[in-house]
């Protein structure tokens, strides 16, 4: 209907052209696309490492790669996926693009810093890639001392510098979001009218700002110890390797919430939009994000249960870890209650949302097993743990990311993705994921340790199942890559509000103009007020 108008109209994608207009852009929407491109690349790299791991594990003997190579593979898989894909994924792509629009702002508070943080991610990524090409790193993504500082003969320093730099990218993104939410809201956009995605991004930003510097200083200390040979954690001098673990997990446990909280925000948007209802218990869901951010800082010691951490501290950390279940459960129950008597439709983003709820619940509940001091000792460093965090990070965070990407794709590009293919790939991903990781729970419970490339023959069936699932999962991830690219040229033209959603981002054109809105919107409704959505839904096909 408005095809001609969309072609003619000036928007953020066609207001200027050329490489320079992208590499020097200060537009948060273009920077979001730069991030999208970058992290997709890193996802592919991390995927290659995962592929090698799964191929190796098809047979019980180590006949595909050597032990050294295998150590490097799981290390680099972890580093790339966590620091260069998952942590920037939703905040830096979807958050960057939509946080300002959702609160009715023209841009983030500090556009130049926003661009700088992308360059920092790229610079950090280059260090990491250099390290991988030069020979890789084999310490595990956790860099535990004293192995990383004194014994490993791999590229620890280059990788550490890469993560250090990427950390600053994360800090600056978080800082930018906090300031933007505080100072850039449109008239009438009160705190309790903000979409829940913005709340979750805000909570995430708090973790990024409070936690990441501690990782940075830990890396600096490891760097000093390895490079200048001064001992900070060196047991030979009386240093304490467990202190390293405290510092590392003070960041790295909350980092899990950097990955999952934004996904939860996306799910709140999806559930509300596709069931045509206000999110049940909006305030509780909003505050549960903050509660997760805060509680997330009080539980890091549950990663140290089998270290020399005092058993008494272990008890406290175990006890506190259970509390994270409360805000998480609030979210899951409120999403479910939102669905109740809703007018539910099953578009692709909603399929991802359903996938998220199921998989996150499994991941979360097995997290409770692991929070239990006694049980954890039994399954520490087994595939049970591997399965648990993949249910959270892949089943949770990546499902949320893909759901959000599909949901907002028409707004970002002005084109619809092909619904049929998208539904198919959502289904493939769900099945492939479960086939890959559910057997790992059983493997872990039976005693298969993580980070080994050989194993007793009786584990082979489960490992083969897992590897088969991984190849299904790979197909599921390849499909969106292909059809989303395809849709850029051939997708159906999207209207301003194809889903009949309520957020401010749907009240501007698709794709949005350079400054997001023709004139600053004035907000008079709470979020998810569907009586306020004017006009009928646009056909989706």
């Amino acid at each position: 209907m408005i095809t001609a108008a969309v072609q003619e109209r000036e928007h953020y994608l066609n207001e200027s052209y050329g490489l320079k207009s992208w590499l020097l852009t200060k537009d948060h929407k273009r920077i979001a696309l730069l991030y999208l491109f970058t992290i997709t690349l890193f996802f592919a790299v991390g995927g290659v490492f995962a592929t090698v791991i799964r191929i190796e594990l098809i047979t019980p003997s180590g006949n595909f790669v050597s032990s050294e190579t295998y150590n490097k593979m799981f290390t680099m898989h972890g580093i790339v996926m966590i620091f260069f894909f998952l942590i920037p994924s939703i905040p830096a792509v979807l958050g960057n693009f939509f946080l300002p629009i959702m609160i009715g702002a023209r841009d983030l508070a500090f556009p130049k810093i926003n661009l700088l943080s992308w360059y920092l991610l790229v610079a950090g990524g280059l260090f990491a890639i250099f390290a991988m090409l030069a020979g890789g790193v084999d310490t595990g993504w956790t860099f535990y001392v004293p192995y990383s500082t004194g014994y490993s003969n791999t590229w620890v320093i280059a990788t550490a510098i890469g993560i250090f730099i990427a950390g600053f990218s994360s800090i600056l993104t978080g800082l930018n979001f906090i300031i933007t939410v505080h100072t850039m809201r449109a008239p009438g956009m009160t705190w309790f009218r903000m979409p829940l995605f913005v709340w979750s991004q805000y909570a995430t930003a708090l973790i990024q700002v409070l936690g990441t510097p501690v990782l940075a200083v830990t890396i600096v200390l490891v760097f000093c110890e390895r490079f200048f040979h001064i001992g900070i954690f060196d047991p030979a001098l009386g240093g304490d390797p467990v202190l390293f673990q405290h510092l590392f997990w003070f960041y790295s446990h909350p980092a899990v919430y950097i990955m999952i909280l934004p996904a939860m925000g996306v799910i709140s948007e999806l559930i509300s939009t596709f069931s045509r209802k206000r999110v049940f218990g909006y305030e509780f869901v909003a505050f549960s994000s903050l509660a997760i951010a805060i509680l997330g800082f009080l539980v890091w010691g549950h990663h140290l249960f089998v270290s020399t951490q005092s058993i008494y501290a272990g008890m406290i950390f175990s006890f506190l870890s259970y509390f994270v279940a409360i805000p998480s459960a609030i979210k899951v129950f409120n999403w479910t209650a939102t669905l109740y008597k809703g007018s539910i439709s099953y578009e692709t983003p909603m399929l991802y949302a359903f996938g998220f709820i199921g998989l996150f619940t499994i991941g979360g509940l097995t997290g409770l097993f692991l929070a239990c001091l006694g049980f954890d000792v039994h399954v520490t460093d087994t595939y049970f743990v591997v399965a648990h965090f993949h249910y959270i990070m892949v089943g949770g965070a990546i499902m949320g990311y893909l759901g959000g990407l599909h949901f907002w794709w028409p707004k970002m590009t002005g084109r619809m993705y092909p619904e049929g293919w998208a539904k198919l790939s959502a289904l493939i991903i769900f099945l492939g994921f479960n086939l890959t990781f559910f057997p790992q729970f059983i493997l872990g419970y039976l005693g298969m340790p993580r980070r080994y490339h050989t194993y007793p023959a009786e584990f082979q069936v489960l490992h083969v199942l897992s590897s088969a699932g991984a190849s299904v999962l790979a197909v599921g991830y390849l499909l969106p890559f292909i059809y989303l690219m395809w849709s850029l040229k051939y997708g159906q033209i999207a209207g301003a509000n194809p889903w009949g959603a309520t957020g401010l981002e749907w009240q501007t054109a698709s794709p949005p103009p350079k400054h997001n809105f023709e004139k600053t919107p004035i907000v008079t409704h709470e979020a998810y007020d569907y009586s306020a959505v004017i006009g009928s839904e646009v056909e989706v096909g």
């Binding site: 304490d240 003070f250 020399t308 005092s310």
Partner: protein, 99 residues
């Protein structure tokens, strides 16, 4: 834009107080206070920090939000240190090596 411009006199008074506290903390370090040496040193340092923050960094004229941010920062540093020390100090209680 509301700005508070403090008088030179205020700043000078704060500055002199800071110098005096520096002299005091150095002198006190040479006196045997037992375990209270650390307490005294940290109390004086906190006092100096408060003077710099409140006056030189204008926290006393700042918004509630800025103060919240500061309290939050101190609290989080407290969490990091207190929880880690809870481990370090209780490690020996069981009397079992490695526990």
């Amino acid at each position: 834009m509301t700005q508070h411009v403090d008088s030179v006199k205020t700043y000078a008074a704060v500055f002199i107080a800071l110098i005096i506290l520096t002299v005091v903390t150095t002198a006190v370090a040479f006196v045997d206070l037992g375990p209270f040496s650390v307490v005294a040193a940290l109390l004086i340092a906190c006092g100096k920090m408060l003077l710099v923050a409140l006056f030189f960094m204008h926290v006393r004229h700042s918004t509630r939000l800025t103060r919240l941010v500061l309290v939050g920062a101190v609290l989080w540093l407290g969490i990091l240190i207190a929880f880690t020390l809870s481990d370090v100090f209780s490690r020996g209680w069981l009397g079992v090596p490695g526990r």
